[in-house]
Symmetry: C2
Subunit: 309 residues, 2 copies
């Protein structure tokens, strides 16, 4: 009954209009697992770091209930490092440094105890590696969710299309939905994804403009982003969203459309906290009360009462 | 107990990626009054046209319950004409022609029977004219809503700031909210508008990304736009939104925040119909059932059920 996350555990250095960090902890699997661990305890992580990665962060993962048997530590090597600078609109960013380091020949190996995972989150890595993960699983999980990006559509569209056939939920942004399908209309793009490409759910992440959920029965749901006074650092918001959503689905054991709607609100609430501080710092300090407070804000933000005959 | 709209009644020629029109009926007051007449019968219009404007359109206004005593018809002159071409994203457009014609020296004169209007919609015209309208009213209406745009901020910021002091609801887009306040954060911009500039409500229209409502008690509400297969022609969508919102408020006689939320959903539903055909054509054929159908789509699009302790 475990929740398996595959992705990066890494260092980031981030510059935004509000400030600048030195090397801090980052990586898609970090954001996903840390967030999901608020909702579902049986977390497992498959990733790779160098021996420069702080032991106390790994101990902190374990303290949160994240099993790290699948987290490879490469002696004498360095962890993946990304550095970027956000523009004033916080949607555009320039990558300053990408040092793949240990990620260059990452081979995601699942410990035996991970092979019956019920919920699987394939973070944004090479689709060939995402396939390799699915190949190691015993049978079909309850739900497989996959995140990817334009970079893989540019250089690995074929393996990406292969892995899409084997998953349940795809999360991408609006430009990526257009690139993947060749359709400008998001409604048409979504229909193509959920009826022809494999996933039965598509989530289009629109950052400050919220997120759209489509299924293969012509249903659609929209979740707003919380209007924030300042977005401090958007790094990891998409992964946090995914971790909150899949964590909620795992806790409730319900992957229906109605419950996906709730999960997307949970994911949006978690993402709205993520962007309040640099890196995963805000996520690491959240209490159950914080999460409920934010959920109430989402309810008041988007719920209305119209009675029709 | 009347509903007064001041704005343009005009001709448009529109080109979108889906097609092209000859001269068709347009103008902010047209979209607002036609939409509001679905909800509230006692409509009054103050505008100006030339003698080239079709008599049958004016008769159609009257058939919908729109009083046209305030619609000036200038013999021997031509109606305002605008022509524009939308880009593929439907958010950006190039203006091809602006022939002010009768609008060049429009003097909005309120017939006596209009001076006790309870609901007033000041469409997007010169703020000096908007002030002139308010000066003619007997006492304070129940609600005054004002629409404006960056053009007036560029050339008439002072009179705009004057008229803002006298209104209740301002509708602008996100870039305009930033220009008006000098704040990049929409939350900060909204706070400035509703606590310092006059209006007690601010609505930020974000087109395909929905609309935000802020009040002067730190409440915020978000209404999504309906994801449409194709946006055929966005002309008039903002005015249609305003007409649906204020029409609903007039019908229910309730200007509380909770009812503003409902009104914004009504406005969004009407706007989603507007963009399905060129000009106001789709609006003119709508039935009560059509409106209810679309409202149900908005409910299912945005409502979820999360119970917190």
């Amino acid at each position: 009954m475990s929740f398996l996350t595959v992705g990066t555990v890494a260092f980031d250095a981030i510059e935004t209009p509000f400030g600048k960090t030195d090397r801090i902890i980052g990586g898609s699997a970090t954001y996903i697992s840390v967030t999901a661990s608020n909702f579902y305890k049986d977390q497992q992580i498959v990733s790779v770091v160098g021996d420069d990665f702080p032991k106390e962060v790994i101990a902190d993962f374990q303290a949160r209930g994240i099993d790290v048997e699948g987290l490879q530590i490469k002696e004498g090597e360095k962890s993946f490092f990304w550095s970027g600078k956000y523009h004033h609109n916080m949607n555009d960013r320039d990558t300053l440094v990408t040092d793949l380091n240990v990620l260059a020949d990452f081979d995601p190996i699942l410990p035996d105890s991970y092979k019956d995972a019920k919920y699987v989150m394939l973070g944004n890595i090479d689709p060939n590696l995402q396939i390799k993960v699915l190949d190691q699983l015993n049978g079909k999980p309850e739900l497989v969710m996959l995140d990817t990006m334009n970079f893989w559509m540019d250089i690995a569209m074929e393996p990406l299309k292969e892995v899409l056939k084997r998953i349940d939920v795809l999360t991408i942004n609006d430009a990526e939905a257009r690139q993947l399908t060749g359709e400008y209309s998001l409604v048409k793009a979504a229909r193509k994804v959920v009826t022809e490409m494999g996933p039965r759910y598509l989530i289009i992440k629109k950052g400050e403009h919220g997120a759209l959920l489509f299924n293969n029965e012509n249903q659609v749901f929209f979740a707003p982003a919380l209007p924030l006074e300042d977005v401090f650092d958007p790094t990891g918001a998409g992964d946090t969203f995914a971790g909150g959503l899949l964590g909620y689905l795992a806790r409730t054991g319900d992957t229906s459309f109605e419950n996906m709607k709730r999960g997307i609100i949970y994911g949006s609430a978690m993402a709205s906290y993520c962007v309040e501080k640099f890196g995963p710092n805000r996520l690491l300090e959240l209490t159950r009360e914080d999460i409920e407070t934010r959920l109430k804000e989402f309810i008041s933000l988007s719920q209305f009462d119209i009675t029709l005959s």
